[in-house]
Amino acid sequence: MVEIWVNGGSVTLEDNTSVDSLIDSLGLSDRKIAIEINHQIVSRSRYDSITLKHEDKIEIVTAVGGG
């Protein structure tokens, strides 16, 4: 198991979980989102090829109402 941070909260995952799997498990597959891992933006095309490692810090953002 690996422990990672997603949007500031701790999440425990199986070893070798891809970004794609994480997004799927969060119900975000059909959403317009952007992801950073350890302060690096990860493009959508790489979601299934990147495996999450212990202590990775993930930020998942979306567009919301604002001025």
Binding site: G27, K32, V61, A63, G66
Partner: protein
């Protein structure tokens, strides 16, 4: 090219009213306000996804027709150039390479006044990274010109504090900025009611950006329609060229001759 269009960077628009998507009661109201305003550009903020959310819950983007409306991601809540640059790089990824953005770097949480020195730094970095930057700034003509020289595609001076509804507090500074600029000047922040928007356009602004003026009105969808007309009226008045003012002497509109009771 249609002379009624106006250009921001590489994009052309007919509506000169830009609106925000914050503070509405629900997404349906947001959608109706956008429609009634005729806005072709709407701002959005970039925030962490709510992870507890059910995947079936609607999101803002479900209510905006991206075929008709250009999204303008902002950097609301950013207090440093680093935060602003990071936010807009994420926004560009989120919106599949979309590069027209609104930059705002705040200096104070109470007044939300811009931190212009950090704004200059952020603008330079974003422009080098290929963004087309529309920049929120103070009504300081020197900073406005400097942001233009860096390559910002539009300069957006505040009329008054964000969400304050106080209207244009310093029309003289705003006029100086308009007269000295070769890129669009868009009043952003502080518009409260229709006449504020009309005055900005009469002064020669290219467009007006507002959020609270519509969303916090008693009838937001009604106000959105009023604002559409206000911006159009102001623009037409500007193009028509107003009459001169005379503070001390009247000028009758009816003939002075042929009076039934001749004078003198």
């Amino acid at each position: 090219m249609n002379s009624k269009n106006f250009t921001i960077g590489t994009r052309s628009f007919t509506s000169r009213l830009i609106i925000g998507t914050g503070k509405y009661q629900n997404f349906s109201e947001t959608q109706s306000a956008i429609k009634n305003s005729g806005a072709e550009i709407v701002t959005v903020a970039i925030r962490r996804t709510n992870l507890g959310q059910e995947s079936s819950e609607p999101s803002l983007l479900d209510y905006i027709d991206r075929g008709k409306v250009t999204l303008l991601p902002n950097t609301a809540g950013c207090y440093s150039a680093d935060e602003a640059v990071r936010t807009l790089q994420l926004a560009r990824e989120l919106l599949d390479g979309h590069d027209l953005v609104k930059l705002e770097v705040l200096g104070d949480p109470t007044t939300l006044f811009p931190n212009v020195t950090e704004t200059l730094i952020a603008a330079e970095r974003l422009i080098q990274d290929g963004f087309q930057v529309m920049v929120y700034t103070s009504d300081d003509p020197v900073i406005a010109k400097r942001l233009e020289e860096l390559g910002c595609v539009a300069i957006m001076p505040l009329a008054s504090l964000i969400g304050s509804g106080m209207g244009i507090l310093n029309p003289w500074n705003l006029k100086i900025i308009i007269d000295n600029s070769t890129v669009p000047i868009i009043v952003d922040a502080g518009v409260g009611t229709a006449s504020d928007a009309t005055i900005a356009m009469e002064m020669g602004c290219d467009a007006v950006l507002m959020n609270t003026a519509i969303a916090a009105a008693k009838d937001p969808v009604g106000m959105a329609g009023a604002m559409r007309k206000a911006v159009e009226a102001g623009r037409e008045a500007f193009l028509a060229g107003r009459m001169a003012k005379n503070a001390y002497q009247a000028s009758p509109s009816s003939p002075k001759t042929g009076l039934l009771t001749p004078k003198g």
